[in-house]
């Protein structure tokens, strides 16, 4: 609606405003595209639980596999908690890495079997190997929601005070482990 006052400054401003807004939007889009190409998943949410105490959980064990998982187990030393399920295809891709970590036996790795039949979880572990120290069942997402989980797999690093220090969404790669998680665990131990 600029042609009312074409010769004034406001007229010129209204003529220039559209291109300025358009450039701004293009910049926003470009940033997002660069982010996506840099590996950001637009679905991924930064956890608000970072640097807060782990939620209260008390999960049943898988039948015939020792005790379940409670908040107590996540205090006293640095722990890694992995959310997984036998239905989760992506979990398979990080599994060899978890097996390797377990074999090194340097850090307690706990599992939360999310929304899974206990038998299915056990069969899956029998077939692919069982890297977990403790496993708790989470059939109706109590723990998953408490941890703010948005998909499997997700992995949390918890410090000795029971405070969440890191969250990883999606399968962990060797690089993720070597460059981010392992150093963080080292640092938290000191």
């Amino acid at each position: 609606m600029s042609d009312g006052t074409p010769k004034t400054n406001s007229g010129r401003l209204t003529a220039i405003a559209p291109i300025l807004i358009a450039l701004l939007l293009v910049a926003v889009f470009a940033k997002r595209l660069i982010d996506i190409q840099g590996g950001l998943d637009p679905n991924q949410v930064k956890s608000v639980l970072l640097d807060t105490p782990v939620p209260e959980i008390d999960l049943l064990p898988l039948p015939g596999r020792g005790p379940g998982l409670t908040t107590k187990n996540l205090k006293g030393e640095v722990t890694v908690v992995n959310i997984w399920g036998s239905w989760c295809v992506a979990c398979l891709s990080e599994h060899p890495l978890l097996m390797k970590v377990a074999a090194e036996n340097t850090i307690p790795l706990h599992g939360i079997a999310w929304r899974d039949e206990p038998e299915a979880s056990l069969r899956w572990l029998a077939r692919n190997g069982d890297p977990y120290n403790l496993i708790g069942q989470d059939p109706i997402s109590e723990a998953a929601i408490a941890f703010g989980v948005t998909g499997a797999p997700e992995t949390f690093v918890v410090d000795p005070e029971g405070v969440i220090r890191y969250k990883h969404v999606g399968p962990i790669t060797i690089t993720d482990w070597a460059e981010t998680i392992a150093p963080l665990v080292e640092q938290l131990r000191q």
Binding site: M1, S2, D3, G4, T5, P6, K7, G11, R12, A15, I16, P18, I19, A22, L23, L25, V26, A27, V28, F29, A30, K31, R32, L33, I36, Q37, P42, N43, V45, K46
Partner: protein
């Protein structure tokens, strides 16, 4: 036809588009008639080439030629013919090909029927069309080629997403693209006018039919998408404010504003630079929609499988098209002749306020859609913006607009008499009161009932006021039937079109208000012989059986519904599992009784018990959504048939004289 022929034709279309883009432009600058004359044949040739490419791809789909990767990925021999054909545009590459085909058809239409256009305007408009074509052809050829082959040829295709195997969704994309791409004509004429440095009533008369056509198609296209979501997604919703829905709705809003501001340019030679801006912005927003859907930067249920490389390409196209045109606008717009001045109570002021609300509404939907991105870029955190936000902000912007819609068409140009107009609307106001009271007495006095009734009353206002305006125009109660008919015939089609479209909007508002306020639902796990009730309907389940479709297996339930002593209706909702890809869809059974739908969905139940989760919805006034949208589309087409809008027809003085005589 051989896919290579299609590929070759498409590759050839690119240099032709380049010629169309630059030779006439150069010619127009140098006033060289011969160079300008290249535009027409180039546009026709381009349509021929792209048409050939499209035909070749369609042929490959019909023949299930799986040596073409695109066919292999999106088709299957067992698919019904309709979905083999709609599979052509049911994927990223093919839909882009449809996009440029429509662009080329529009360009060719200007070339063929634009004989009366000033030479330079025509040359420049076609050149801009050529530029858009160049960009999109390059995009297709370099990132999204539908003609790539695979060796060895797979024996069977991967099939089309079952959600897309649906008659509504088969024609939804072509309609939508006719709308989006139709706005490219307004864009091209706007850029041509800026290059020319001249905008006048004749220019507005040229742009208006294209805009009307695009608007009508887009209206119907959006309506089809909404209809599809309603019956296919299985919970009876029809609008979700999803980014992809918004991407088509935002250009609709600005396109509607453009349609109205063009009238002011035509009649008053005012609002010129604003109208030019609207034309540029409307098409830019159509491009933005294309970008959002294909780049993966926003998440949506409807998005194509996205690829950031393509995203970069579309963003570059968007930046060039929008940046270029808006820069030109910034330079040239202040030099356009200012228009006349408006008196506060006049048709033109009404249209201006209409534009204010439509533009604000468009900006609002855009803001809400992009806010998560903007917030992320500004590090304001992770946010979601969904339906509750849009409903809260959008409705207050629409209510005053609809109130104005009742009065606006009755206002005279230049200076009108508000008291006189309102006096003529006394009957309409009385009707509104009556409707409101009736709605309240039938529904109740809960907050939701009052809100729903108010919505219906608003719709009644628009309906009665539009009718009053039309009746006054044809002197409905003052002439003998024979004279009345003459009068109706003599009234410009554009007037009838406006009345139909505005009444369509009223009908749509009834649908929106009524279905939002009074939808009822019931959910039950049931076995055969049991009954679920909703809104007074007894819906009895008679069991489910497995049936076999052409490319799916389906569990089909049989229900009979009765209300009171009425006749029973049979409903057969299905839950299908397609063979390839193995995906499940729900097919709701809908019984429409003119003003309301009974909507039954068969869900899953506990395994092997013969029991199923059944959802029964009573959807009052939902059919009004579809009636309203059809009326709006029809209104656009009727208006388009006005002889003054006929493409290529010079303004016929004779007809105007005839008209003035009444």
């Amino acid at each position: 036809m051989n896919p290579e022929i299609g590929h070759y034709a498409l590759a050839l279309a690119l240099p032709v588009a380049l010629v169309q883009a630059f030779v006439p432009l150069f010619g127009a600058a140098r006033r060289d008639a011969a160079l300008m004359a290249v535009a027409g044949p180039a546009a026709l040739l381009q349509m021929l080439l792209i048409g050939t490419a499209f035909a070749a791809l369609t042929q490959a789909f019909i023949a299930s030629d799986f040596s073409v990767i695109n066919v292999y990925q999106n088709s299957h021999t067992a698919k019904p013919l309709l979905y083999k054909i709609s599979g052509v545009w049911g994927n990223h590459e093919g839909s882009l090909l449809l996009w440029v085909l429509i662009l080329a058809v529009f360009g060719a239409a200007v070339a063929a029927f634009g004989g009366a256009l000033p030479d330079r305007l025509k040359a420049r408009a076609l050149a801009v069309q050529g530029m858009i074509g160049t960009g999109f052809l390059a995009f297709i050829l370099f990132t999204s080629n539908p003609f790539l082959r695979v060796n060895p040829t797979p024996a069977q295709g991967l099939g089309l997403n079952p959600l897309l195997q649906d008659p509504g969704l088969a024609i939804h994309p072509p309609m939508l693209y006719l709308g989006y791409v139709g706005f490219s004509m307004a864009f091209s004429f706007a850029v041509a006018a800026l290059l020319e440095g001249r905008v006048d009533a004749a220019w507005a008369r040229w742009v208006r039919p294209w805009t009307l056509a695009a608007w009508s198609f887009l209206t119907v296209g959006i309506g089809l998408g909404s209809w599809w979501a309603y019956y296919e997604l299985g919970w009876g919703g029809w609008w979700f404010w999803d980014p992809v829905e918004n991407a088509s709705f935002i250009p609709w809003l600005t396109g509607t504003a453009l349609l109205h501001s063009l009238i002011v340019v035509e009649k008053r030679e005012a609002l010129k630079s604003w109208t030019i801006l609207l034309a540029i912005v409307t098409f830019s927003l159509s491009l933005l929609g294309t970008f959002l859907v294909r780049s993966g930067i926003l998440t949506s249920v409807h998005a194509f499988a996205s690829d950031p490389t393509r995203g970069v390409f579309v963003l570059a196209l968007l930046a060039i098209a929008v940046g270029g045109s808006l820069t030109l606008y910034a330079i040239r717009a202040p030099k356009l002749e200012p228009g006349g001045l408006f008196s506060p109570i006049s048709r033109e002021s009404g249209l201006l306020i209409n534009n204010l609300f439509l533009a604000t509404a468009a900006a609002t939907v855009l803001l809400g859609t992009l806010y998560p991105l903007i917030a992320d870029a500004l590090e304001l955190g992770n946010l979601s913006v969904g339906a509750p936000y849009f409903n809260t902000v959008f409705i207050p912007l629409m209510v005053p607009l609809v109130l104005l819609m009742g009065i606006g068409p009755m206002m005279a140009w230049k200076r009108s008499d508000l008291a006189g107009v309102l006096a003529r609307l006394k009957g309409a106001l009385f009707g509104v009161g009556l409707v409101f009271a009736l709605a309240l007495s039938l529904s109740g006095i809960d907050a939701i009932d009052i809100a729903g009734s108010a919505g219906i009353a608003l719709a009644a206002w628009l309906f009665f006021a539009s009718f009053t305006e039309w009746a006054g125009r044809v002197r409905l109660f003052k002439l003998s039937p024979a004279n009345l008919w003459k009068r109706v015939r003599a009234l410009p089609r554009a007037s009838h079109g406006m009345t139909i479209a505005h009444m369509g909007m009223a009908v749509l508002i009834v649908g929106v208000s009524g279905s939002s306020a009074w939808k009822q639902e019931n959910i039950l796990t049931m076995g055969a012989g049991e009954t679920i009730t909703v809104a007074g309907f007894d819906v009895t389940f008679h069991g489910a059986e497995t049936i076999r479709g052409p490319n799916y297996e389906s569990v089909q339930g049989t229900f009979s519904a009765t209300r009171g002593d009425g006749k029973a209706v049979t409903l057969k909702p299905e839950r299908r599992i397609y063979d390839q890809p193995a995906q499940q869809t729900t097919e709701a059974a809908i019984h429409t009784a003119f003003w309301a739908d009974l909507y039954v969905v068969l869900g899953e139940g506990p395994a092997d018990t013969g029991r199923y989760v059944v959802r029964a919805y009573f959807e009052p006034f939902v059919p009004f959504l579809w009636y309203g949208i059809l009326m709006m589309g029809l209104g656009g087409l009727v208006s388009l048939s006005d002889r003054r809008h006929r493409i290529g027809a010079p303004l016929r003085a004779a007809s105007i004289v005839e008209l003035a005589k009444g």
